[in-house]
């Protein structure tokens, strides 16, 4: 029910369409009711009473009502479709916006396939119900009520005979709905699981193949596919049992009318024309009842789907801007972490356990430490991709939780550890953060990232489409495009998370030179394992298990025993040998 109301709330802006639809429905239903009246007059008035001249007129009246009804039908159908499509358009838009804004923590746990299944298959079910189901349901309920009244006017006694059938059917509908709804919820869930398994299989195809694990994957899929089949068959059994039951009760009613109504005609309580009219109305009464099973089925399924859609829409954004958040002007670039404690999940070990770090505007900080020591975590807290559990992160003295997210993130350039490019041209990928950037700016960023020459060598240059639908690129090529993308932002703060790990040493040296210039006047955090890159930094911070264990310049740190000196010694030993 709640889901239904929520869908209806989406329909509110289109209530004028809804009104037109209902008007069309009412008029159309009224016209429907007219035809049995005409038949009755044909029998009683024209044929039995012998007013033969009227036959042609009555026949014409049938055509006239149908045409009249047709016009209203058209408006009704069109208006309702408009409403339904608009609602779906809005739901999809809301979903999209919401998905764009959900925090990283949500995506840490989400499966793309599961989400896709909700935004595609579930929304589609909702759409179908809205555009056919709702109006049918309303129409059937309306004509059911009207017919019931009309039946009373023809013969109350006969009507009283059929009436008990109605609660019987209602009971069947209710029972069916109660049982089938959870089944549909499960079916939709299984469908999503199929999508999720598939999604991983397709995106991880290289791993599957290189480990010759195809059989394993097929088995994994078989399990979800089979579960889906079984749930479907369970729902089918319910349908098979309850649908005919609804018709059966309706047939019982018709049977009673035939016997009792026939007798009442013979005794003259009602006329033959009235009996025929009654029977025709009865068909109109029971068609809705028959359809009801089908509609309830559709509705149940749509509500199950709607639940899943709204569940997604209701997922809380963990990182949300507070009302009246501060606007930020151009940042100076001072960054402070104050006694920051943070973990990704409750119960997990602290990823950062009391980190204090103050960075002056324009300073370059190198973060060093074993894998999993918390380097990337620090970088993710600065643009507020996650909120800290304790302490706070300040940028230019403002707690990042107090400022507008867009203002903050727009001034931070990030090269993440893993590169994601969109399926579009290289130029658009580089200009992702500033869609309006000019070609010169794009080229300048590409040059700094040492990728310009490669791009220029491609037949279509900057217009080459890359990503899923385009040219395959080597790991280092992708990474350099990502660097260009971050540089183009002209950010006040630059976060480079192993930005050159897949780049060869020679190219890396060139990028480093370019960076040396670009880093002037910006605050930068650089995570790198190569000493040569670390040397870009003014200050080095060594992390271990979420704590800062050493901090200082290269010269300071090589003098004291510790992780840094170990690393330097290690690499120096090799270097000496090289020279």
């Amino acid at each position: 029910m709640k889901t239904l109301f929520r869908v209806l709330r989406y329909a509110r802006p289109y209530r004028s369409s809804l009104a037109i639809g209902l008007l069309g429905l009412v008029v159309g239903t009224a016209m429907d009711m007219a035809v049995p009246v005409i038949t009755r007059y044909v029998i009683d008035f024209v044929l039995l009473a012998g007013h033969h001249a009227w036959l042609g007129w009555l026949a014409a009246a049938i055509v006239a009502t149908a045409s009249f009804k047709g016009v209203f039908w058209f408006f009704q159908r069109y208006a309702m479709a408009f409403m339904a499509q608009k609602v779906i358009f809005d739901v999809r838009g809301d979903l999209y916006r919401h998905l764009q804004e959900l925090s990283f923590r949500f995506y840490d746990r989400a499966q793309t396939g599961q989400i896709m299944s909700r935004v595609s298959q579930d929304v589609e079910l909702l759409r179908r119900f809205l555009s056919f189901g709702v109006i049918q349901l309303l129409g059937q309920v309306l004509s059911f009520a009207v017919v019931l009244v009309l039946l009373f006017t023809i013969d109350p006694v006969l009507t009283a005979v059929v009436l008990p059938v109605v609660p019987l059917v209602a009971l069947a509908v209710w029972q069916f709905n109660r049982r089938v709804r959870p089944k549909y919820q499960e079916i939709q869930q299984k469908q999503a699981e199929i999508t999720a398994v598939l999604q991983e299989n397709v995106t991880g195809v290289r791993v599957v193949r290189s480990f010759a694990a195809e059989d394993h994957e097929v088995e994994k899929f078989r399990r979800v596919n089979w579960a889906y089949l079984e749930k479907n068959l369970e729902a089918m059994r319910l349908r098979a049992t309850w649908f005919p039951l609804m018709s059966l009760s309706a047939d019982l009613g018709t049977m009673l009318v035939l016997a009792i109504g026939g007798w009442r005609t013979v005794t003259g309580t009602i006329s033959l024309g009235m009996l025929v009219q009654f029977l025709q109305y009865l068909a109109m009464l029971f068609t809705p009842l028959r359809m009801l099973g089908w509609l309830v089925n559709m509705g149940s399924r749509a509500i199950a789907a709607g639940n899943r859609v709204f569940e997604l829409l209701d997922t809380r954004r963990e990182v949300a801007e507070r009302p009246g958040a501060l606007r930020l002007g151009r940042l100076q670039g001072a960054v402070r972490l104050e006694r920051v404690r943070f973990r990704y999940q409750p119960g997990a070990p602290w990823a950062l356990d009391g980190v204090d770090l103050a960075v002056e505007p324009g300073e370059t900080i190198a973060l060093l430490g074993a894998t999993g020591s918390g380097k990337s975590t620090i970088l993710q807290l600065i643009p507020r991709f996650y909120d800290v559990d304790e302490g706070c992160v300040r940028v230019d003295g403002h707690d990042v939780r107090d400022v507008r997210l867009a203002d903050l993130r727009r001034q931070i350039g990030i090269v993440p550890q893993e590169t994601f490019l969109f399926s579009t041209t290289i130029a658009e990928n580089i200009a992702y953060g500033r869609p309006g950037a000019s070609r010169e700016e794009i080229v300048r960023a590409a040059k700094a990232a040492q990728i310009h020459d490669f791009i220029a060598s491609l037949p279509k240059g900057y217009e080459t489409v890359v990503g899923e639908r385009g040219l395959g690129l080597s790991g280092g090529q992708k990474q350099r495009i990502a660097i260009a993308r971050a540089l183009l932002l002209d950010p006040a703060i630059l976060l480079l998370d192993e930005a050159t790990s897949s780049v060869d040493t020679e190219t890396e040296a060139l990028i480093r030179e370019a960076l040396r210039r670009l880093l002037l006047g910006r605050t930068a955090f650089v995570v790198a394992h190569r000493l040569s890159t670390v040397r870009l930094a003014d200050r080095i911070v060594v992390l271990d298990e979420g704590r800062i264990v050493q901090e200082g310049t290269h010269d300071e740190l090589v003098r004291v025993p510790g992780l840094y000196r170990d690393i330097v010694r290690l690499q120096l030993a090799e270097a000496r040998e090289a020279v």
């Binding site: 038949t39 033969h52 149908a66 009804k69 058209f74 159908r77 479709a81 408009f82 499509q85 358009f89 999809r92 840490d108 989400a110 499966q111 396939g113 896709m116 598939l198 299989n201 995106t203 195809v205 290289r206 193949r209 010759a212 596919n225 089949l229 068959l233 089918m236 059994r237 039951l245 035939l258 016997a259 026939g262 007798w263 005609t265 003259g268 025929v276 029977l279 070990p349 074993a370 894998t371 993130r409 893993e418 994601f420 399926s423 953060g433 899923e468 639908r469 690129l473 080597s474 790990s501 060869d504 190219t507 040296a509 394992h529 190569r530 000493l531 040569s532 090799e574 270097a575 090289a578």
Partner: protein, 607 residues
């Protein structure tokens, strides 16, 4: 920014071959399908008996009423006759009840099972398709085949197909009944048939086109969504949310417009059919009325006629709308079969050759290769990796290092030249066997959602827990795995989120090691791992690599130094080869690379 879906114009006419092939999936269930059809005929027969019974009732009532009016009293047997008709009515509805159950049951059974098979087969086929296929097809499109397209077919197999059979059956029954009741009136009623046929044809062609458009636009919507979800972290990093939303709104709107075009046609279609139907009813009333007046037709017949006519349009309309559904299903089936007809990757040889208990010698002989026609990436690469030796490959990005791995694993086949494993051309080795001999750590490490242990075990599915842990220990992953909330049983989500990048790389490394392969291929396997951990790994590797051949791609030269052979690649060629010391002495490309890496460090140390 976001791509147009590939608007493959699916204008293909109704394809009998596709239909046959689809029906082929029902073949194992033909018994169920036959039973379903049979039950359906029963249902229809029972249903169409309704107006006939009404006719009998009217025929019974009319003279009785006349007799009563004439003061002759109710003719004997009237009441019994009415009861008989009522009883018959109950009987038909009981038949219809049972038959409906059977029909739903058998049809869903057959349809759902057929769909299960189809989906399973499609998925299994995907496991055998070449990488070229996946290079061409975005993941979203492949997914859409197995989900949306198969769902469309599912609907047809489990519902539409039977509805069509039902509609045809009821039309035939109705026409027969009308003809039996009165030939002249029936023929008169059918006068409007050609108009109706023309209208149905006119609309269904247009409706189909409109729905093609709907499908194309919805494909764009999904493609955009899929990519937006995959790239959401980048989007938030670059605050692109509002620009993306605008684009999506545009694509969403195109879909809305296409839907409205289709709906407009639909909205016109139904009333048109209704109006034509009313014309037929008018003909029946008018002409039938005259026949009744002329005593050529009974009252009961007229009533039955009107009722039958009422029932005529439902199936007609249904057939028209299911025709469009069938079209949709056929278009979907075409696409699904299109995937199924893709030749699987480099087929296994006809006479496969066995690998002798792998020693692991690798030969590349003048291998030329490119990903696309006319764009050669490797220009004649030759080298030999002796059994048990380590070969390192270095060189600038895009030089073709990963491409060598792709060829060795036979993800792609070379254009010319030949690759041998233990002297056997890898094209003559069954693929499974080839890949079983290889343990690969790919540059782009990918983990599945599942526990950490499951991910490592992916390397060898029958490995014991101890073996899994041993592999993790060997790459130095054991310590951090134990610190995870549930140790080896911790669930990592899609792509291994929950682990840091280096940790993911280590898990992928352990996975390859667990395989205990004859040949270990490491494509930048430790690029995201810190120097200290890397040293640990290298020490462990020295032991692990004993007796194995290894192909190691790395940018960090410290990783490369100890190799038995170093290949320096540039622009798709091997430009230098030799041992570390030799190459340094030679003072070429390698020496330069090496010095570049350490120049700074040394300068600093010197200062």
């Amino acid at each position: 920014m976001h791509p147009r879906g590939q608007g493959s114009g699916e204008r293909a006419p109704f394809r009998l071959a596709t239909f046959r092939r689809l029906i082929g999936y029902l073949a194992p269930y033909r018994r169920d399908f036959a039973l379903a059809s049979l039950s359906l005929l029963l249902v229809q027969a029972a249903l169409q008996a309704g107006p006939y019974l009404v006719k009998r009732a009217v025929d019974l009532v009319t003279p009785a009423r006349a007799a009563v009016q004439a003061g002759a009293g109710v003719p004997p047997g009237t009441l019994a006759g009415l009861f008989e008709i009522a009883a018959l009515y109950v009987l038909t509805s009981l038949v219809s009840w049972g038959a409906t159950y059977a029909q739903t049951y058998f049809m869903s059974w057959a349809g759902q099972n057929a769909i299960y098979e189809l989906r399973a087969e499609l998925y299994a086929h995907l496991q055998r398709l070449s990488f070229r296929f996946f290079d061409r097809q975005p993941a979203g499109v492949v997914m859409s085949r197995v989900t949306n397209d198969v769902n469309t077919i599912e609907e047809m197999l489990t519902q539409s197909l039977l509805t069509i059979v039902g509609s045809v059956a009821s039309l035939v029954l109705i026409v027969t009944m009308m003809l039996l009741l009165n030939v002249r009136l029936a023929l008169a009623a059918f006068v409007v048939m050609p108009i109706l046929g023309a209208a149905v044809f006119f609309f269904s062609v247009r409706v189909r086109r409109a729905y093609d458009e709907v499908r194309n636009t919805i494909a764009n919507v999904y493609a955009n969504l899929q990519e937006s979800i995959s790239g959401v972290r980048v989007t938030q990093s670059f605050t692109r949310e509002s620009v993306n939303l605008d684009r999506f709104t545009g694509i969403n709107d195109e879909n809305f417009q296409a839907n409205m075009r289709a709906e407009r046609l639909n909205a016109l279609f139904m009333p048109t059919v209704d109006a034509i139907g009313a014309l037929a009813t008018a003909v029946i009333v008018w002409y039938g009325g005259r026949l009744v007046i002329g005593h050529d037709l009974g009252y009961g017949d007229l009533v039955a006629f009107v009722m039958y006519m009422d029932r005529f349009y439902g199936p007609m309309r249904q057939m028209a709308s299911f025709y469009t559904q069938m079209q949709a299903a056929m278009a979907a089936a075409d696409k699904v079969f299109g995937v199924m007809d893709e030749a699987p990757e480099g087929r296994d040889p006809v006479r496969p050759r066995r690998l002798s208990a792998g020693r692991g010698r690798i030969d590349f002989e003048d291998v030329r290769f490119g990903y696309r026609e006319g764009e050669e990436v490797l220009h004649g690469v030759s080298f030999t990796a002796e059994p048990g030796r380590t070969v390192a490959i270095v060189g600038p990005t895009g030089a073709g290092k990963s491409s060598l791995v792709n060829l060795l694993a036979r993800f792609y086949d070379p254009w010319s030249g030949c690759i041998r494993l233990d002297g056997v051309d890898i094209r003559e080795i069954p693929q499974r066997e080839l890949r079983r001999a290889l343990g690969i750590v790919l540059q782009d490490n990918f983990l599945f959602s599942g526990t950490v242990a499951e991910n490592i075990r992916y390397g060898r599915l029958d490995a014991t827990d101890e073996e899994v842990e041993a592999a993790a220990r060997a790459v130095g992953a054991d310590a951090f795995i134990r610190r995870l909330p549930e140790g080896y049983a911790t669930v990592v989500h899609e792509r291994g989120s929950l682990l840091s990048t280096g940790q993911r790389q280590l898990v992928a490394f352990a996975r390859a090691l667990l395989r205990d392969p004859a040949v270990l291929v490491l494509d930048e396997a430790t690029s995201n791992v810190d120097a200290a951990t890397e040293v640990l790994i290298q020490r462990a590797l020295a032991r692990l690599l004993e007796g194995r051949t290894a192909l190691v791609i790395a940018h960090r030269l410290s990783t490369v130094r100890g190799a038995d052979l170093i290949l320096v690649m540039d622009g798709g060629r091997v430009v230098e080869r030799g041992r570390h010391e030799e190459l340094l002495l030679a003072g070429g490309h390698y020496a330069e690379l090496y010095r570049a890496q350490f120049k700074d460090a040394v300068a600093k140390a010197g200062g």
